[in-house]
């Protein structure tokens, strides 16, 4: 890193990242230049084009058989796992963006930010009262939140949704792509911030229940800032230990040196806390339920699926490349973390009465399962975890898409009791939710089972039999709360003043269908994806 010359750049390998980040910049420009009328549609078109183009670039690269390269002076490693993760992230971005763009369920879209920018400040102030009434207890306060206002006044033409969400999503996505491909810790830190900051913002933009949404954004931001600090501190200690921030250098230093181990493991511990926080692994999960519940559901979908992929991608890379040689010394601690995560997720999930919070705790349990695969520093462990991420992502996106359809008088009806008798009222929605719940529970012929099987087999082969037993018991416990929703939907009579189920527009329909179909296909014929994930290895 001492050379003065411009580092060599492999543009072919970096194309997906460049496309996404470039698209994000263009999106910002369009936001400034285009008239309001056409902005939303143009932005959506641009975003989808950018994601699709990047996806094509990934596929071209993956199928061309190009050798893995480390480029930008070793900052990014474009190797097999990176390409798989990029493919996963971009593929998940498609349904997520479609959910974000939906106007049919919530007229005008689910987002609202700064009315002043629209030049309607006065009109907005007048409607605050109406919005407060419509929003119920979680009413908007125009004085708080820096002039932001809720204007969910029903019966009036809804204000067009914010179109800058697309730029934010593209920046977050770009950060995620860099995050899971970065080959040195400093790049990883920058990517962490790039992916996090837009997400903090997106969480606070809900049109309904603004107080909850803003609370979730603040919570996510504060805790996220803490975890970033942990990450940075760990990075500093590791730099002190290895005299380099490159992952492979850390591995080299750890393998053959007489330097004191305390620096290495203290650094690792702090670094891992930062990463586990992003992946919502218990006991670093405390933000998850609040943020999942408070954020607009389409943002939750994007965050739940893609952040998990990026975070576990980075965890896999750090474990394998930098700490693979010392695995026996630190894995015991992670056993405890994995067990804690699984148990916390399953047990607290049992007590939830809100669908979104329930899915949040379920994601904590799933993070524990994923950690099992990530801890097995073996080729099977890697391919199993990669497959799990893809499978889980699609299931989650589709599930949140369905959650957004069940609506009461003041927005989404996420309380469990509102879902009673849904099987009668909306058989198709209920059937889809049931299928996805069974997938999360890990019933065969869904992707959830294939993924769990792969991860558990890898963990067992690597000598983690007790953890696998715990994981299986936890799966049985977690099945109870997945079943509870099915019981409510099918075996209970609908409440008289129950929620309505919106007829989804084309965007949401496509997103949900995509998720359900992928969940089914990966359960029945997973060969193609497993084959791709199989035999990948990190560079370095």
């Amino acid at each position: 890193m001492t050379g003065q010359a411009f580092p060599s750049v492999d543009y072919g390998a970096l194309a997906p990242v460049l496309i996404v980040l470039g698209g994000a910049c263009v999106s910002v420009l369009l936001e400034a230049l285009l008239p309001l009328r056409v902005r939303g549609r143009t932005q959506l078109g641009l975003t989808l084009t950018v994601v699709a183009a990047a996806l094509v670039a990934v596929i071209v690269r993956a199928t061309s058989g190009a050798a893995p390269v480390s480029t930008l002076a070793g900052a990014l490693a474009v190797d097999g796992p990176a390409l798989f993760l990029w493919g996963t992230l971009l593929a998940l971005a498609v349904p997520s963006v479609l959910l974000l763009a939906d106007r049919s369920v919530e007229p005008g879209g689910a987002f609202l930010a700064d009315p002043v920018a629209l030049g309607e400040a006065e009109a907005a102030e007048q409607r605050v009262a109406v919005g407060a009434r419509a929003g119920g207890s979680s009413s908007a306060r125009s004085s708080g939140g820096g002039g932001r206002t809720g204007r969910s006044a029903r019966g009036q033409t809804p204000v067009e949704s914010q179109s800058e969400i697309y730029a934010l999503v593209l920046f977050a996505l770009g950060g995620m792509l860099v995050f899971c491909a970065s080959d040195d810790l400093l790049t990883m830190f920058v990517a962490l911030e790039v992916l996090s900051l837009p997400l903090y913002l997106l969480c606070g933009l809900a049109r309904r229940r603004r107080l909850m949404s803003q609370e979730s954004a603040v919570k996510y931001f504060l805790l996220g800032a803490f975890s970033s600090a942990f990450f940075l501190y760990g990075l500093a200690l590791l730099y002190g230990y290895a005299d380099s921030v490159k992952l492979s250098d850390i591995s080299l230093a750890a393998a053959g040196s007489l330097r004191p181990d305390s620096l290495l493991f203290a650094g690792l511990a702090l670094l891992v806390v930062g990463l586990l926080f992003k992946a919502s692994v218990g006991p670093f999960h405390t933000w998850t339920p609040d943020v999942y519940q408070g954020a607009p559901t389409s943002v939750t979908a994007f965050m739940a699926a893609c952040t998990k992929v990026a975070a576990f991608g980075a965890i896999l890379r750090v474990f394998t490349v930098a700490f693979g040689s010392t695995v026996w010394e630190w894995r015991g601690v992670l056993w405890v973390v994995a067990i804690a995560s699984m148990v916390i997720g399953a047990v607290l999930g049992l007590t939830q009465t809100d669908v979104k919070r329930m899915i949040a705790y379920s994601s904590v349990a799933h993070a524990g399962f994923l950690l099992l695969g990530a801890m097995a520093i073996t080729p099977q462990g890697l391919s199993a975890t990669l497959f799990y991420l893809l499978a889980y992502g699609f299931t989650t996106v589709a599930l949140f898409g369905l959650v957004s359809l069940v609506r009461g008088p003041d927005g989404e009806a996420t309380h469990l009791s509102a879902w009673a008798g849904l099987g009668k009222r909306a058989p198709v929605v209920a059937a889809a939710v049931t299928f996805l719940m069974l997938a999360l529970a890990g019933i065969p012929l869904t992707s959830g089972f294939t993924a769990k099987f792969a991860v558990f087999a890898a963990a067992l082969a690597d000598g983690m039999a007790p953890l696998v037993i715990v994981a299986l018991v936890v799966s049985a416990v977690a099945a109870f709360f997945y079943l509870r929703l099915i019981v409510l939907m099918y075996f209970s009579e609908p409440a008289a003043d129950g929620p309505t189920v919106s007829v989804p527009g084309p965007f949401t329909t496509v997103a949900i269908t995509l998720g359900v179909v992928v969940t089914l296909l990966l359960g029945v014929v997973p060969t193609a994806v497993l084959g791709w994930a199989d035999g990948l290895s990190f560079l370095g």
């Binding site: 087999a457 299986l472 019981v487 209970s492 060969t527």
Partner: protein, 542 residues
């Protein structure tokens, strides 16, 4: 033949999808029910074809009608089907029972808002998945279908069951799912072991059998216990049985027949197909423990059956006793006892189906499953009482009925090796006679009494009055005779039961054809466990 087997697996599943789609239109309800019945009849024909083509002579392969297609190469799993004698008899039993229960359910009153088409669709999907469970020769495929079969049964109980159906359905699902997950640990363990021992991971049953039998005892025991946990919950052995009375009592009659008659047989089938051949050393080592559980099941199930007042729970407890017998035969390791158990699995399916259907007919008339609400039914419904008696005698294994042969074979085969357990189990036969005749006496004989038989209706406020009134008049039945609420079996109901009566009698006198089909699989299992029949004092191998 393999094509026939594949069709037999897929036809009910495709049919279930079609019928399920028809369930959304009420005017298609009748057509959907007819289609379901027709499809189940086609399945029956296919099974007859399979049975006719099944070769049993010496030198024939154990698995016939084999079919194997690559499925997930990364896991080394194949979509592999094949039939041995035990699997074939179970599939045949399934194919016989499904049309009967669909026919029975035709006239059944469903809970509000539920359609007959939906019921038929769930029944057909249960049938398709069960065919796969019995026919799978790939352990992964077996596991997948083993779990998948929970889902239609869960909805059958939860949507069409009795008042406490939610509780029963969830309990059923969670028990089975937990057992399945423990088995999954063993399945993965087998896969990992095959990966290290054979060089590549596989789920092929034959390959695993060769490999796993060589594993050291310390590895076999945990793997054995994993499979055992799932199967002991499924074919409930006593400490794992509590879900069955609830599920049996809340399930709709037709669903309960399949649950008790076939779904639970997957457990005993699993002992025979997976526990014994895959882990012979562990099987021999743990046999005393399992025999103890089996015998406890026989005695405990019989005793609890005797004190039930709910007729559906009663049938469930008798089944627990019978599962004890089957397990006794399996873990006694002699060809007679294992053949007896395999035959018992068929016979118990027939007897229990018959008993459950008769109970269902009684409930259809009286509106309640509580025995105390009935009395003297034989006076107004002699045919019904007669059918009940036939079912009951078959259940307690009276000579001349089907169950006698199998129960006798189990005890005969088990005695030389396990005299103590056999003697205790024989006590179970006495209890069986006690509980069955007692129930018959209470419900069918004597003067007309009970609010379900005489009076306006069960459970209504007037019923209590009627009961007390009838108590007072019990000495004078002629005075109340005119108020009997229901009549005897209709011609259609007799027709539903006739095939079962025929099977009970035919298999009671001529079990030969079935035993012949079972024999090769039984002797193969004996060879895989590595036991020979005990030798009697005069030197004749039994």
């Amino acid at each position: 033949m393999s094509a026939v087997l594949l069709v037999l697996l897929l036809l009910p599943l495709v049919g279930a999808a079609v019928v399920g789609a028809m369930a959304r239109r009420e005017d298609l309800d009748r057509a959907a029910k007819i289609l379901g019945l027709a499809l189940s009849a086609v399945s029956l024909v296919l099974v007859i074809v399979l049975w006719a083509g099944f070769r049993t002579g010496p030198g024939t392969p154990r698995f016939q009608a084999e079919l194997s297609v690559a499925w997930i190469p990364a896991f080394g799993t194949r979509f592999a089907l094949g039939l041995d004698g035990i699997a074939l008899t179970m599939i045949a039993l399934l194919a016989v029972l499904v049309p009967i229960v669909l026919w029975f359910a035709w006239a059944e009153k469903l809970p509000a808002g539920r359609t007959g088409a939906g019921f038929t669709a769930l029944m057909l999907s249960t049938q398709g998945v069960l065919v796969g469970v019995f026919a799978a020769t790939d352990v992964f495929l077996f596991y997948v279908l083993f779990e998948a079969m929970l889902i239609p049964m869960y909805f059958l109980i939860g949507r069409f069951g009795g008042p406490r159906r939610q509780y029963a359905a969830v309990k059923f699902f969670l028990y089975s799912f937990l057992g399945g997950l423990i088995m999954l640990a063993s399945v993965i363990g087998l896969f990992v072991a095959s990966d290290t021992r054979l060089g590549e991971g596989t789920f092929d049953w034959a390959a695993l059998q060769g490999m796993a039998a060589q594993l050291p005892l310390s590895t076999q025991i945990p793997l054995f216990l994993g499979f055992f946990a799932a199967f002991a919950i499924k074919a409930p052995l006593v400490p794992f049985h509590t879900w069955l009375p609830d599920a049996g009592a809340e399930a709709p009659i037709a669903g309960g027949v399949i649950l008790l008659g076939l779904l639970d047989k997957v457990g005993t089938f699993g002992f025979l197909r997976y526990n014994l051949p895959l882990f012979p050393a562990a099987s021999r080592e743990l046999a005393p423990l399992l025999l103890t559980l089996a015998v406890i099941g026989v005695v405990y199930g019989s005793l609890l059956a005797a004190v039930q007042t709910d007729m559906k729970r009663f049938v469930a407890y008798t089944s627990i006793a019978h599962f004890g017998f089957i397990a006794l035969g399996i873990f006694a390791f002699s060809s007679q006892s294992i053949a007896g158990s395999a035959l018992y699995m068929v016979n118990h399916g027939i007897s229990t189906a018959m008993l459950f259907l008769v109970v269902g007919l009684l409930i259809r008339r009286g509106g309640t499953a509580s025995m105390t609400e009935y009395g003297g039914v034989g006076r107004v419904a002699p045919l019904l009482a007669g059918m009940f008696l036939i079912a009951g005698l078959s259940t307690i294994a009276l000579p001349g009925t089907n169950s006698f042969i199998s129960e006798f074979l189990v005890l005969l085969g088990a005695f030389p090796r396990e005299p103590v357990f056999s003697v205790i189990a024989t006590v179970g036969i006495v209890f069986a006679a006690l509980y069955m005749l007692w129930v018959f006496q209470r419900v069918m004989t004597g003067p007309l009494r009970g609010s379900a038989v005489v009076g306006d209706g069960p459970g209504a406020a007037s019923a209590a009055v009627m009961t007390s009134a009838s108590d007072g008049d019990a000495d004078d039945p002629s005075a109340r005779n005119l108020t009997a609420r229901f009549g005897d079996l209709t011609r259609g109901e007799v027709a539903v039961l006739t095939p079962l009566v025929a099977l009970i009698l035919v298999l009671g006198f001529f079990p030969g054809p079935v035993l012949e089909v079972l024999e090769p699989a039984v002797s193969a299992t004996m060879a895989e466990v590595g036991v020979v029949d005990p030798v009697t004092p005069n030197g004749v191998a039994r």
